[in-house]
């Protein structure tokens, strides 16, 4: 079988919902494909198929290679696309780094590090986070400029989609940062009611923190809506996926009414294009919204979600 056929087969496996098999096929193909264009296509597909958390390192390397290759080809659409994807992947890395960083100063009455090893680890993590954050902002700005320059609406839509994902990650990370223990965190952790926007803004994150969170959420929503509008104009099914992602993010932020409204839009697009994987995902998300986030697995204690 030729390499092109292998890529085609991987695509078919993905469309059939066999994600793991598609990922294995793509990794196998990536190790042997030499043709630059085919390699770019393989990486492009791998970025959508591989697990962004488990295979984060691999995906970052792929996206870096793809940026360089597309730059050599002089293809600004591809370059913008891979840059925005890399920014998105870097946010996953930052989330993990922030989690480790936060664990070193977790207690509410924290005064000082107990060991120099912990202190050194904290400094290293902080500088790495800052470096990654700068790279994310830089990548997104350049990707947006390239996409606008090329005039390719699909590329622009993809960049906005990645931007929405980045802002959504920033929202979650900032929320985690605001949880510094004490009475408010205990309230938020123990009473679900406190996680709804009204109580969250009133009691848990009053003032500047709350405003910052709202701003990040707004930016994520705006970017998602821009991407969705572009894809809708192009009559592309990706608009459905964009609405789905937005609904998912709003559900995580306990904005269930808005999430339901966007999920309805995603469903109408999925039905119009007869997109089975999206239709299935929408059903699952609808269930999660109905139970109001009570089905979130305990990831820290080893439980895994439906998607893993």
């Amino acid at each position: 079988m030729s390499e092109k056929d292998d890529l085609q087969q991987a695509l078919m496996l993905l469309q059939a919902g066999k994600r793991k098999e598609a990922a294995a096929q793509l990794l196998n193909l990536e190790s042997r494909v030499k043709d630059k264009l085919l390699r770019l296509q393989t990486i492009g597909l791998a970025l959508s198929v591989l697990d962004p958390i488990e295979d984060n390192k691999k995906l970052l390397l792929f996206s870096e290679e793809a940026i360089k290759t597309s730059q050599r080809f002089g293809d600004k659409d591809w370059q913008a696309n891979f840059m925005s994807r890399k920014a998105d992947l870097l946010m996953n890395k930052i989330s993990l780094l922030r989690y480790h960083q936060k664990n070193l100063k977790l207690a509410s009455g924290w005064i000082e590090f107990s060991t120099e090893a912990d202190k050194q680890k904290y400094i290293t993590l902080t500088s790495e986070i800052e470096k990654c954050e700068k790279e994310v902002s830089d990548l997104l700005t350049r990707a947006l400029a390239f996409a606008e320059e090329s005039g390719n609406q699909e590329a622009l839509g993809n960049v906005f989609m990645s931007k929405a994902s980045v802002e959504s990650s920033r929202y979650m990370q900032y929320k985690m940062e605001c949880m510094v223990g004490g009475f408010r965190t205990a309230l938020w952790a123990n009473f679900r009611l406190m996680r709804y926007p009204f109580f969250e803004n009133l009691l848990i994150f009053p003032g500047a923190k709350g405003r910052m969170l709202e701003k990040l959420l707004d930016e994520s929503t705006k970017a998602s809506l821009k991407a969705a509008m572009i894809f809708e104009k192009l009559n592309d099914v990706t608009a459905g996926y964009t609405y789905y992602n937005l609904a998912n993010h709003l559900k995580t932020a306990y904005r269930f009414r808005a999430a339901t409204a966007f999920l309805k839009k995603a469903k109408s697009i999925a039905d119009k294009h007869n997109e089975l994987p999206l239709q299935n995902n929408i059903e699952v998300l609808k269930g999660a919204i109905t139970v109001k986030n009570k089905d979130i697995p305990d990831y820290i204690n080893g439980e895994v979600g439906r998607d893993l």
Partner: protein
């Protein structure tokens, strides 16, 4: 010459107890601590050099001669720990790797050197000896094994203090280090068995004991009235300020875990230290719920086996 021999040996080191000395005693006088029986009675002020000590506790007998190598090694470790405490922990500064090792080695020794550990170990050997003697008698065998066990029992505790030191220290090094600092007026107390293992997951049953490898275990050791060490596998790290309520709750645990005595820097005690359960309504509700369930289960069991004859 005989005067220099360390025959009086402390099972809770003097350098450690000095941190709990009564601050009202002028510096030109011998430092003293307030010592109480487990139930809070018989409170008395005692000089540190005379308290929580026993004669020849760690002295080995080699060819009929007394050997103080264990006591001397312990003294050397205590000296190093005291320096770490004075220069770093007291000033709330992060420990470097060597200081971290010294602290863990000190904790490891504190886990094993106490009278409670000695009594438990000797009781275990006594049971073994009794069983061996019974078997030897029943089979008309010469008392070989029982004599060997008796010899082991003699030095078991002394050798055990250092026998497990490398392994326990290595394990403790992997745990997160937290120094809990008393911020308010309440201060930490200590006891004759100051280093404790506690696993909250096991508190509802009596079969399993806490162990260093358990996920939720925490090793606590009050280092001074202001600071308590807490080693755990969780993310509790750093110098952490504690309010009065938490400090008193820790003191309640210390009194609960002490062997015979607990020690304080002042003669004042708090009623909460002697309560069996914490004064937390949710916890108390759990206790009551558990008691009721056990009671119902017992009644069910009795009813189910009501026709079984008692022996």
């Amino acid at each position: 010459m005989a005067k220099n021999k360390p025959t009086k040996q402390h099972y809770v080191p003097q350098c450690y107890l000095r941190e709990f000395a009564d601050p009202t005693i002028p510096p030109n006088k011998e430092p003293s601590i307030w010592i109480f029986s487990k139930k809070g009675k018989n409170q008395r002020r005692e000089k540190i050099k005379n308290t929580l000590a026993s004669n020849d506790l760690y002295t080995l007998k080699v060819h009929g001669q007394k050997n103080y190598v264990i006591e001397e090694t312990l003294a050397s470790l205590e000296g190093k720990y005291a320096a770490v405490f004075r220069t770093k922990i007291k000033n709330r500064l992060p420990l470097n790797e060597e200081e971290h090792i010294i602290l863990c080695a000190f904790v490891s020794v504190m886990l094993q050197r106490t009278l409670r550990h000695k009594d438990n170990l000797e009781q275990f050997y006594s049971e073994l000896i009794e069983r061996a003697e019974f078997i030897e008698k029943a089979h008309n065998l010469p008392p070989k094994e029982s004599v060997r066990l008796k010899r082991f029992k003699q030095d078991a505790h002394k050798l055990n203090v250092f026998g497990l030191l490398p392994d326990i220290t290595e394990l403790l090094m992997k745990m997160g280090v937290a120094f809990l600092c008393a911020n308010g007026s309440a201060k930490f107390i200590t006891s004759d068995d100051p280093c404790n293992l506690f696993n909250p997951d096991l508190q509802w049953q009596k079969f399993y004991g806490p162990g260093l490898g358990q996920k939720s275990v925490q090793v606590t050791l009050p280092l001074s009235p202001d600071i308590m060490l807490c080693l755990s596998w969780s993310n509790l790290r750093g110098y952490i300020g504690l309010g009065n309520e938490r400090v008193n709750e820790s003191n309640r645990m210390i009194v609960g875990h002490c062997y015979r005595y607990f020690v304080s820097h002042s003669k004042k005690t708090k009623m909460i230290w002697f309560f069996r359960y914490p004064l937390n309504p949710i916890f108390l509700f759990k206790v009551v719920r558990r008691r009721v369930r056990t009671w119902i289960d017992e009644l069910r069991f009795r009813y189910k086996f009501r026709y079984v004859r008692k022996r």
